[in-house]
């Protein structure tokens, strides 16, 4: 029973990180209909920047803040310089450019910081709580991870559903022509969407780096599981991304705990196929989006 609880708690905290990555992918998919595989490289770079700042200044929170700001800037730059040129082209070209950027960023990180994975400090203690004399595998840092991801999801929801800016961003994504006619600066909204997505992504990098270590290719599985989570939940739904992330995190945690880590990728495949066979557009799809 304690094992089950431990695995559940562990699943929730890794699932929260998958949810954050999925959220970053969903933001970009909604804005520009591009699956941004470069996300994995972008949040790897910002986490490396955080690591450098932390070791130079000695302050975790300074590094944390710098990484988030760098994420915002990097997202905007990537959209302005690269993605804008392929947004309107064939969809596969954008995928290839994103893959190219992922490879390029990983190679550059290897040149600058080396290919050996290094440790990354957690925000809070990673020693599990003692509850009633039993030691559980859930630490203050896991609490922080889960709370931060929930907080970001809520803020994004308020932004998209409750503010004029969010309305403009949604309008630009769904009806760019009409939105432009009504005075929405559509291309600026796309840039903002990419910047926000990269911000959320860089947060995911900071949260996961202590447990998987930091290296040029270290975040590849996180990216793949984040994408799987986004597809599970439905790429058009931020809530779906969050649910998909936690669902995937829990499943992988149980499978790896009870059956062994080698089956984790196979379990991801099974979950994804089962969900997609029942709901081809993800858990939160509606008939409208299925036609897109």
């Amino acid at each position: 029973m304690t094992k089950f609880i431990d695995l559940t708690l562990n699943g929730i905290s890794t699932g929260a990180v998958y949810a954050a990555v999925a959220l970053a992918l969903v933001l970009i998919w909604r804005a520009t209909r591009i699956v941004n595989f470069a996300q994995g490289g972008m949040f790897m770079v910002t986490t490396f920047i955080a690591s450098s700042v932390i070791s130079a200044s000695g302050s975790y929170w300074l590094g944390f803040a710098v990484a988030l700001v760098c994420g915002l800037v990097l997202g905007a730059i990537v959209e302005r310089l690269l993605m804008r040129r392929v947004e309107s082209g064939p969809p596969l070209n954008a995928v290839i450019v994103a893959l190219g950027l992922l490879i390029l960023l990983e190679a550059l990180a290897g040149m600058i910081w080396g290919n050996t994975p290094r440790s990354f400090p957690p925000a809070f203690s990673i020693r599990g709580y003692d509850i009633g004399g039993t030691h559980v595998l859930f630490s203050p840092n896991d609490t922080f991870t889960v709370l931060v991801v929930i907080g970001v999801a809520l803020v994004l929801r308020v932004l998209f559903q409750g503010t004029a800016l969010g309305l403009q961003m949604r309008a630009a994504a769904f009806q760019p022509e009409i939105a432009r006619m009504l005075g929405v600066r559509v291309s600026r909204m796309f840039t903002l969407g990419w910047a926000l997505a990269a911000f959320v992504g860089s947060l995911a990098g900071l949260l996961i780096a202590p447990s998987v270590f930091l290296g040029p290719n270290q975040f590849d599985p996180i990216l793949i599981f984040g994408f799987t989570a986004a597809v599970l939940g439905g790429l058009d739904h931020p809530l779906g991304a969050a649910v998909g992330g936690v669902l995937l995190g829990l499943t992988l945690s149980y499978v790896s705990g009870y059956e062994g880590a080698s089956l984790v990728t196979l379990a991801a495949l099974v979950v994804l196929i089962v969900v997609l066979m029942v709901r081809p557009g993800g858990l939160f799809s509606s008939t409208l989006e299925r036609r897109v």
Binding site: L92, I224, L269, G281
Partner: protein
């Protein structure tokens, strides 16, 4: 009746053209294999099985409009089939390769049937999960699949009629090229057949295609099966050339590289698949040469090939949105009549 006859004439024309194409390619490859040294012969063999799988992807992605990030895993099915049949059951090469094609096609039916319900990124996600999930099976059943180290087979022996000193690499290149030529012949016919047209119809407008009496799901599944069969053959040839089937060769990177090659080469034409295979074989060598021609620190020179590869992908997509073949066609296009359906 007359329309039937003209259709018949058109199809024999395609058949003759495909045969001519294959003969020409065969002569070029034969002469090339005589001139090359053993390293380049091995490269030729690698290019040949890459072409086989890329031709299959051309049918799937270029023709029927479905995306697959899982073709590396389909190659793995073919590779392990050949490794098990040749290594454990002492099958001859040709029946083993045929079995690889059949078994991978059967897997293709499963994947394809699931894929018909999925579109765009959802299909990409499902096939990507397939690509990361399948190599785990080799770890799970090490007694059958050899775990991390994979399965080793004996190298194919050149027939004694070719002489005792006939190089092994050239024989491997011939086997792989023969497979590639068969794929070229069949794929070129398919491209210009009624089935090829139905693939394109489904790609361009599913509703219109189903109004014309096409069963969209069945057409899409068929495209997946054809494409999986090509991948199975390619995987089997890979085992023959490398004498090894190991999970490390079929990780998700291979699937992504295949998709990249097909888009970079030029989506939808078999010439594009040839360009794609050439890129897959030659680019790593070139980038390595470039990286080691400067005196750089090991940290930089170890990562430079990858950086160049990423940069090439980005620049190529911006410069030639329709791939290398699109760029070539723009240059020589006005000089010749554009072939139908190309």
């Amino acid at each position: 009746m007359s329309s039937m006859r003209s259709r018949l004439r058109a199809s024999t024309g395609t058949l003759a053209r495909s045969l001519g194409l294959v003969l020409l390619a065969g002569v070029v490859l034969f002469v090339a294999s005589e001139l090359l040294d053993s390293y380049d012969e091995l490269q030729l063999a690698n290019g040949a099985y890459y072409f086989a799988v890329l031709a299959g992807l051309t049918v799937l992605t270029g023709l029927s409009g479905q995306i697959s990030l899982g073709h590396g895993a389909l190659m793995m099915v073919g590779a392990y089939t050949v490794a098990l049949l040749v290594g454990n059951e002492q099958w001859a090469l040709v029946p083993a390769l045929l079995a690889a094609v059949v078994i991978t096609a059967l897997v293709g039916i499963l994947v394809g049937a699931a894929a018909t319900r999925l579109r765009g990124p959802y299909l990409a996600g499902a096939t990507l999960a397939f690509a990361i999930g399948l190599p785990a099976l080799a770890d799970r059943f090490p007694a059958t699949f050899g775990g991390e180290n994979g399965l080793v087979i004996n190298p194919p022996t050149p027939p004694s009629s070719l002489g005792a000193s006939f190089p092994l690499e050239r024989w491997e290149a011939w086997i792989a090229c023969a497979g590639a030529l068969i794929v070229l012949f069949l794929a070129n016919n398919l491209l210009h057949s009624g089935i090829g047209r139905s693939f394109r119809a489904v790609r361009d407008d599913e509703i219109a295609a189903s109004l014309c009496g096409l069963h969209v799901g069945r057409v899409q599944t068929l495209a997946f099966v054809v494409s999986a069969a090509c991948a199975g053959l390619a995987g089997g040839l890979l085992t023959v050339v490398l004498q090894l089937a190991a999970p490390g060769a079929f990780e998700v990177g291979l699937s992504l590289a295949l998709l990249t090659a097909i888009v970079l080469g030029g989506l939808g034409s078999l010439v594009g698949a040839i360009w794609g295979a050439a890129v897959l074989v030659l680019l790593p060598g070139w980038t390595n040469d470039i990286a080691h021609s400067f005196s750089l620190s090991t940290r930089v020179s170890a990562n430079l090939p990858l950086a160049i590869y990423g940069l090439v992908l980005i620049v190529a997509m911006l410069a030639w949105p329709s791939g290398i073949q699109g760029g070539v066609r723009r240059i020589i296009g006005p000089l010749r009549r554009r072939p139908a359906g190309g």
